[in-house]
Point group: C2
Chain length 330, copies 2
């Protein structure tokens, strides 16, 4: 698979240079237990240890870092009730800018507090009666703020791709790479890096069963929308792939696997009990797909003698203890 397109390996290397000393170079965990269960050598790139607890900081920082000094002094705006909110808030603070984050007024108190804790101004809206895009556009126009989208931008995608760049730089050749798919920015960037560094790698997306918009879109050959998904993997509960991300993913992805909420729970439990790490549901879907044994034929079994080498991006670990208790109780 080739990686020419709106985002290139050079863009990702450039993002990596900007992130150096700012983002964490997150650890790659190995586990004899996981290797044994899967029958392969598994390399877990742990973005739950990234700043703000998820990969989102990579893209947000790369995007904000490219704004002009004038724009940085006016500030940025983002819509998010999740990890992108904290990522943009922290990126703005690190770069001497300021952030306005639009969040639904019924967002969890812990997320509101965490985002405000990074110095952002929170503007809440009623998601049943108000249109956040209209509010955001008005704020952006009135105050001259730059909108930082969660995935639909080459700078965001290039930033997220640094996760796979670091992984392959550290561990070398991989036969396959599994990456959770929400809006598609993480896998578009990671796929761009991985296929350029490691031609022939199998790029495998993972979606929750209820949120299979990218899988359906790939099968249809164009973007399709699904009903608003219900899944514990809230970070992936999107109903349509991004336009830019889909155009990249259509080119780079070999397959998309689906995991059930129970499979996600089992992966979170294994991560907790055996790896001693905290994963949020979306963060654990790649591991869930691997443990559920859903790899397509030809991915495992690199050869008769060597086990396959499989990378998995653990994309985040932001889950409060009370929510973890709820999720585990099923």
């Amino acid at each position: 698979m080739s990686s020419t397109g709106p985002v290139t390996l050079d863009d990702i290397r450039d993002a990596a240079a900007r992130l150096k000393g700012v983002a964490h170079r997150t650890p790659v965990l190995r586990s004899r237990t996981v290797d044994g269960l899967v029958g392969a050598e598994v390399f877990l790139k742990c973005e739950n240890f990234q700043r703000i607890g998820a990969f989102k900081f990579r893209g947000a920082y790369n995007a904000v870092s490219r704004l002009s000094p004038e724009q940085l002094s006016r500030g940025v705006v983002a819509y998010s009730s999740g990890n992108h909110a904290q990522a943009v808030a922290l990126a703005a603070r690190e770069l001497g800018s300021s952030a306005v984050i639009l969040m639904p007024e019924d967002a969890p108190e812990s997320k509101l507090r965490a985002t405000a804790g990074y110095g952002a101004e929170i503007v809440t809206y009623d998601r049943y009666t108000e249109d956040r895009t209209a509010i955001g556009d008005r704020l952006a126009a009135e105050r001259g703020l730059a909108l930082i989208p969660p995935y639909e931008h080459p700078h965001i995608i290039a930033g997220q791709g640094t996760a796979a760049l670091e992984l392959i730089e550290e561990v070398g050749h991989l036969d396959a790479l599994l990456v959770p798919v929400g809006g598609g920015g993480l896998i578009a960037g990671s796929g761009t890096a991985a296929t350029a560094l490691n031609p022939g790698i199998r790029m495998i997306g993972v979606e929750p069963e209820a949120s299979d918009d990218t899988k359906r879109s790939l099968e249809a050959g164009h973007r399709v929308s699904i009903p608003v998904p219900r899944t514990i993997a809230d970070g992936q509960a999107l109903d349509t792939p991004g336009e830019l991300t889909f155009s990249i993913n259509q080119r780079l992805l070999d397959d998309v696997l689906l995991v059930s909420d129970d499979e996600i729970r089992a992966a979170m439990k294994l991560a907790f009990e055996r790896l001693k790490i905290v994963t949020e549901p979306s963060g654990a879907t790649g591991l869930a797909a691997l443990l559920a044994g859903g790899l397509p034929a030809g991915v495992t079994g690199r050869s008769e003698v060597l086990p396959a080498r499989i990378g998995v991006v653990i994309s985040g670990g932001n889950i409060a203890v009370p929510r973890f208790l709820e999720v585990m109780a099923g």
Copy 2:
């Protein structure tokens, strides 16, 4: 404080050489959140990422590795329902020996399974009517097994000391080191390494409030027994310090801090939500003491301008999800 005694820095270096490539060189985590809360630079040595999920593998492997080939072929025996059981089982397997582990018949199913999973033979006893020491002695005599004690042996203590050796080799000078105290092997070994490498370091033990046998013994100037303690920190629920470990700790420890079960819960929650790591209650007591603000005067505030540099050993992370839910529910 000097480190001459039954265990020396050379013994610990020798243990480190034996453990190389067998035990994990566990990561040292930093956290802006923790540094901010404590007002110091905090270095968390994460033994929850050690093999079997706790520091115990270090001492067990060092001790088993020193047995003669004849003894290795006859096998080893240990009494434990906790991390020492799995540590001895795995050490024996790694060294081509075999292990018999004596466990109470009402030990948690998960611990029985985990220990058997490392290839050990489990012998259960009724802890209300049978004397495990008598059973162990009989087994040892009949089969010629070598008893591997959990802390009362120089090889065990030297092995545990490799945790602090690695920490100080990696991060350099520390003003203080906080270590959980159960039987006292981890802190005796860690204190031996730390005071030899870093004279003037403040060695601080941490016990659960209900299990303050070492603190009381230090105050009394001799070993005292307390009623059987009730605490969520089961790995530290001992009623008397070890004889050998106490003789070392009496010489090396500057202080012992006490933490309540609620303070331990708060530390486990912070480790989960902010550090994204799983800690068992005993594993989190050092962090709990730090967060509870109990450091003695003179430990923080290295100077007017530099913050203190404080090491903390996170000693283990073996807790099943259902037990974690119970502990968190309080």
